[in-house]
Amino acid sequence: MTSALWAVEIPYWGQTLLRVLGGVVAVLLPAGTIVYVFLFKMMSFMQSRLGPMEAGPYGSLQLVAEVGKWLQKEDIAPERADRFIFRLAPIVVLASTFLLVAVVPFGPDAWFTNFETGIYYAMAVSSVSVLGILMAGWASANKYSLLGGLRAAGQLIAYELPMVLAVIGVVIQAESMNLQQIVVAQNAGSIFGWDGLGNPYLLTQFVGFLIFMIAVQAELTQAPFDMPIAESELVSGYMTEYSGFRFLMFFIGEFATAGVFALIASVLFLGGWGVPFAWFGWNGIDDVDNWMNVVGPLVMFGKMMLLVFLIMWVRFSYPRFREDQLQRFAWKFLIPVSLGNIVLTAVAKVVW
């Protein structure tokens, strides 16, 4: 419980308020950090330039300036657009991100909800954003937007499958769909009796990790999977007609979702908030000291930055796929490989 952190009894409404605030922080803080560190700075460095340098020391307030600019812009809806759905779409996309962060555990007691089938919920909720994108593409009354929306739908559905199949390997190995138990299983585990590193599933499920990260890349519509927003072909696809605050919501949604997916990937493959329990002589979740509720989120943040670095590194390095290459890659390569991964994991699980 959150209350255990301060060792005082917080009333239910207080806990709820804390969780809502925590959720907002857990979505917006990584999004802001990712945009500044990776989108502004790392991308520029990879292109041998410095990026924004004027707003704030070393350009650190550039994002504040950008948000201020977007807030001032007029909120335009095209004349023939379906107004209600057009306005609802960015909210649906952002809502999917907030729903997704709800199951991520940040510490032994620092979590928002502790579903028994947490990863199942996460996979289900992450596909809500497809609806938002399809709504945006359709309601814009713009053929480029519609094409972008349809491409997004085809792509996100195609890559949902390898993602779920890659997760199944982890679920088999952890014997649980609860994200908290997946974390504990990794940190309390051992590699052939040596427990100095726990047993991060990155090692045993490396194929699953690769498939998961590729699928995440596609789910986030980051290059090389950015056909739905392909600015040179579709003029930013489903985002074309959005301006001002609604564009800002899509923008936040894109990078917040990158952060949240990185959080989930760190829970599944890197041991989440935990450090190997053997370091401090803990045996299970009940032995974990209370200070992990503070250190845990920081550990999570570090692992998230590492994974987002991978996502962004790939994004800034590769050119865009063609639509048929994208579908062939998902259906003919990723899905068979992930099915094979499940079979291997299941056999290994039974044998050991």
Binding site: S44, M46, Q47, L50, W313, S317, Y318
Partner: protein, 163 residues
């Protein structure tokens, strides 16, 4: 699978560029704070040597954008030799170049038979209002100071000018 080495190589290129930018600095310069000198004969702006201009209008007529405006009048100048007739010269009243229209083709500089127009490497003359980009002969004359010396003629070449 055959594409994997290429993919890894691509990641290596971006990563090493990032490390280079962090350790050795970027290839770009932070423009208003530090400036790169343009090449000596860069085509930045067109400068006018007013004394050489005879308002013959060749530049204005050859300009594809019609961005050169010339007005002049005839004046009588004292004769060159004692006892001669007073000469008639063209005096320049107005010589404006609208740099909002100019496309820097340089035809006016090429076509000028009296060496009155020159390329200057000066490039910092942007304005907040588009109408302010219409520069008159005084301003064009000031840019003459920035025009680099003409390169030496090749050996054996005919030297033009007054005999």
């Amino acid at each position: 699978m055959a594409k994997v080495p290429g993919l890894v190589k691509g990641l290596g290129v971006t990563f090493s560029t990032m490390v280079q930018t962090i350790t050795k600095g970027a290839n770009t310069v932070q423009y208003p704070h530090e400036k790169e000198a343009p090449p000596t004969r860069a085509r930045g702006v067109i400068a006018l040597r007013e004394d050489n201009c005879t308002s013959c209008m060749l530049c204005a007529r050859s300009c594809p954008d019609w961005c050169i405006y010339i007005e002049g009048h005839k004046e009588l100048a004292p004769p060159r030799r004692a006892g001669g007739k007073p000469r008639q010269v063209n005096k320049l009243d107005r010589f404006d170049i609208d740099f909002a229209l100019c496309m820097y083709c340089g035809i006016c500089v090429e076509v000028c038979p009296f060496d009155a127009l020159f390329w200057s490497p000066e490039y910092e003359y942007s304005e907040g209002r588009i109408a302010d980009l219409l520069h008159d002969k005084t301003k064009l004359g000031e840019w003459m100071e920035t025009v680099p010396e003409a390169p030496e003629l090749e050996a054996g070449a005919d030297k033009k000018g007054k005999k």
